[in-house]
Amino acid sequence: MKPRYAPYLFITPALVLLTIFLFLPVVASFILSLTNFDVCCLGDFINTKFVFLQNYIRLLSDPLFWKATKNTLYFAFVGVPLSIFVSLMAALLLNNPLIKFRNFFRTGYFTPVVTTLVAVAVVWRWLYHPEYGPINYFLKLLDLPTVNWLEDPRWAMPAIIIMAVWKNFGYNMVIFLAGLQAIPQSYYEAAAIDGADEVKSFFYITLPLLKPTTLFVFITTTIGYLQLFAEPYIMTQGGPLNSTLSIVQYMYNHGFKFFNLGYASAISYVLFLMIFCFSVIQMKIGKLYER
C-alpha cells in the first residue's frame, strides 16, 4: 500500500519556510516598490501610501542610480571577460600533460574561491596600501609609476576588478578543466595526422568544443558580478567620488541606512530584471545547443 499523505508531510516544512522567506517576499517586494514606504512608516505601517510607478520614475532621473549602474556594468563587462580569460589560461596550463603535481596546483589556485570575501577584501586593502603595500613596492622594483589604488577615482574600480579576478578565477578554471577533459583525445590525434600544429588544434578543436562551457561560465559569472557589494563596501565604501558605488550598495544605503524601503525595493527589482534577462538568454542559447 502506498501511503497518500506521507509525501505531503515531507514537503510541508520546506514549503512553509520557502513560502514565508522566498515566494511571498518576492511579491511583497514588488508591492513595496510601488509605495512610499520610508523611515516614518517603520514604526507604523499605516502611514504607507501607494505611489504606483513613482519610485521607478524617480530612479530614471536619479544620477546616483545611473552612476551605480554604470559602475556595476563597468565591473561586470571588464571583470567577467578578464576573469574568464585568466581561468581559461590557467585551465589550459594545468591540463597540459607536461605539468607535474597538477592536483596540487589546482587546489592552490582554487583556495581564494572558498576564502571569506570580507576577509580577502580587508587583506587586499592592505596589499594596495600606497606606501607600505607590496603591490606598489613591486611596481617600484619594476620602475613603473606607483598608483594610489583605492583613493584615486580612476584606479579604484580597476583595483577591485584585479582583486575579484584573483578571488574568482579558480572556480571557472575548474569548470574549464572539466570541459577540456571531456574532449576526446582522438580528435587531437586525428588533427596531428592531418598536419595540424598545436596552435591550429587549439583554434579549430579546443575553442569550438569549449563554446558551451564558455557560455555557461560567462552567464553565471556575469550574474554573480552584477551583485557586487562586499568588495567596495570594505575597500572603498563606494568612493572615491562614488566611483565604486554598486547597485547593491546603493540599494543597501537607501534600504538600511536611510530606510527608504519603497525606493530600495524598486532598485532591487531593477537589478532582478537585469539578472533575469541574462538568465533568459542563457536558457535560450542553452536550448539551441541541445538541438
Binding site: 500500500m1 497518500r4 506521507a6 509525501p7 515531507f10 514537503i11 516544512p13 520546506a14 519556510l17 520557502l18 522567506f21 511571498l24 518576492v26 517586494s29 513595496l32 517603520l42 596550463l93 607536461l98 605539468i99 607535474k100 596546483f105 592552490g108 589556485y109 583556495t111 572558498v114 576564502t115 571569506t116 570575501l117 576577509a119 580577502v120 580587508v122 587583506v123 586593502r125 592592505w126 596589499l127 596600501h129 607600505y132 613596492y137 584573483w166 579558480g170 575548474v174 578543466l177 572539466a178 571531456a182 557560455l215 555557461f216 550574474i223 551583485q227 557589494f229 562586499a230 570594505i234 565604501q237 547593491v248 540599494m251 538600511f256 530600495a264 532591487s268 537589478l271 538568465s279 542553452g286
Partner: protein
C-alpha cells in the same frame, strides 16, 4: 630531439604554474605574517614579508579587548544549525519529490526550480520587515530560518535519490516500516556522499555570508565574524596587524574545511559544469 624540446617546455610550464601559485598564495602569507608583526615592523619600507620577531599582541588584543570570541561563537552556532536544518529539511522534501507520486508534484517542483534565478537581495527588504514585526532581529533565528532550506539542495539531493532502487523502499514497506523511518534508516544513510558535498557548500556559504547578517544583526554582541571584521575595518582602519589577525581567524575554519573536503568540492563543481 623531440625529448629535449619537451624537457625544456616542461620546465617552462612548471615554472609558470609555480609563479601562478605564488601570486595566488602571497596575499594569504602577507595576511598571516602581518598578523604577527609589531607596528614598527608593519610600517617599514621596503616591505618585508617575514617578521623578524613574532609578536602576538594583535591576537591578545583581538580576544581580550575586542571580545572577538563572541562573534566566533555567533557564527559557529548559526552555521551549525543552518547546515544541519538545511540538510534535513531539503533531503526530506527531496525524498518526496524523488520517490512518491502525488498530486501537484510537477507543478510544485517546477515552481521551486524557477526561483533559483531570483537574486537574494530581492527578498531582503520584505523579510527584514517581517523579522522586525516578529521581534526576531538580532536573534540567531533571523539567520537560521532564512537559510534552513535551499532549493538548490532539494534539487541536488533529489537527483541523487533517483538512483536509489525502489525495491529497497518497497521491501521495507512490506516489512511494515513507517514511511518516516524508511527515510531515516534507509534513504539518508545512502545519501551520505551528496549530503557531505552539500554540507560543505552550505557551511562555506553560511560562514562567508555578509550582506544578510549585516542587515539583521544590528547589536554589536550579535555580529557574525564577517560583520565584526567589517566593523573593525572601519574602526581600526590603520591597525593592520589587528585587522590581519582578525582576517586570519575568520578564514582559518573555511580553509581547514576546504583542505579536508577539497576533492569533493572540486569534483562536484566539475560535474556541475559538464551538465550544462
Amino acid at each position: 630531439m623531440r625529448d629535449d624540446k619537451d624537457i625544456g617546455r616542461s620546465i617552462w610550464f612548471n615554472i609558470l604554474a609555480l609563479l601562478g601559485l605564488v601570486v595566488t598564495i602571497i596575499p594569504f602569507l602577507w595576511m598571516l605574517f602581518t598578523s604577527v608583526k609589531s607596528p614598527e615592523e608593519i610600517f617599514v619600507f621596503p616591505p618585508k614579508i617575514f617578521p623578524k620577531k613574532f609578536y602576538f599582541y594583535n591576537y591578545v588584543k583581538l580576544f581580550k579587548e575586542i571580545a572577538f570570541f563572541q562573534h566566533f561563537k555567533n557564527t559557529f552556532i548559526v552555521t551549525i544549525f543552518s547546515v544541519l536544518l538545511n540538510l534535513f529539511l531539503s533531503s526530506l522534501a527531496a525524498f518526496a519529490f524523488a520517490k512518491y507520486e502525488f498530486k501537484g508534484k510537477k507543478t510544485i517542483f517546477t515552481l521551486l526550480l524557477s526561483t533559483m534565478m531570483i537574486p537574494g537581495q530581492m527578498t531582503m527588504i520584505p523579510v527584514f520587515l517581517l523579522l522586525k514585526k516578529l521581534g526576531l532581529l538580532n536573534t540567531y533565528l533571523a539567520l537560521i530560518l532564512t537559510s534552513a532550506v535551499s532549493v538548490y539542495g532539494i534539487f541536488l539531493i533529489r537527483q541523487f535519490m533517483l538512483s536509489i532502487p525502489d525495491e529497497l523502499i518497497e521491501a521495507a514497506r512490506v516489512d511494515g516500516c513507517p514511511e518516516f523511518l524508511i527515510f531515516i534508516k534507509i534513504v539518508l544513510p545512502l545519501c551520505k556522499p551528496i549530503l557531505s558535498t552539500l554540507g560543505i557548500f552550505a557551511f562555506m556559504g553560511c560562514w562567508n555570508d555578509f550582506l544578510w547578517p549585516l542587515i539583521v544583526m544590528i547589536k554589536k554582541e550579535m555580529y557574525t565574524l564577517t560583520v565584526a571584521l567589517a566593523n573593525l575595518n572601519s574602526q581600526y582602519a590603520t591597525d593592520y596587524g589587528l585587522l590581519m589577525a582578525a582576517a586570519t581567524i575568520v578564514v582559518l575554519p573555511v580553509l581547514i574545511v576546504f583542505f579536508i573536503g577539497q576533492k569533493f568540492i572540486i569534483r562536484s563543481i566539475m560535474i556541475s559544469g559538464l551538465k550544462e
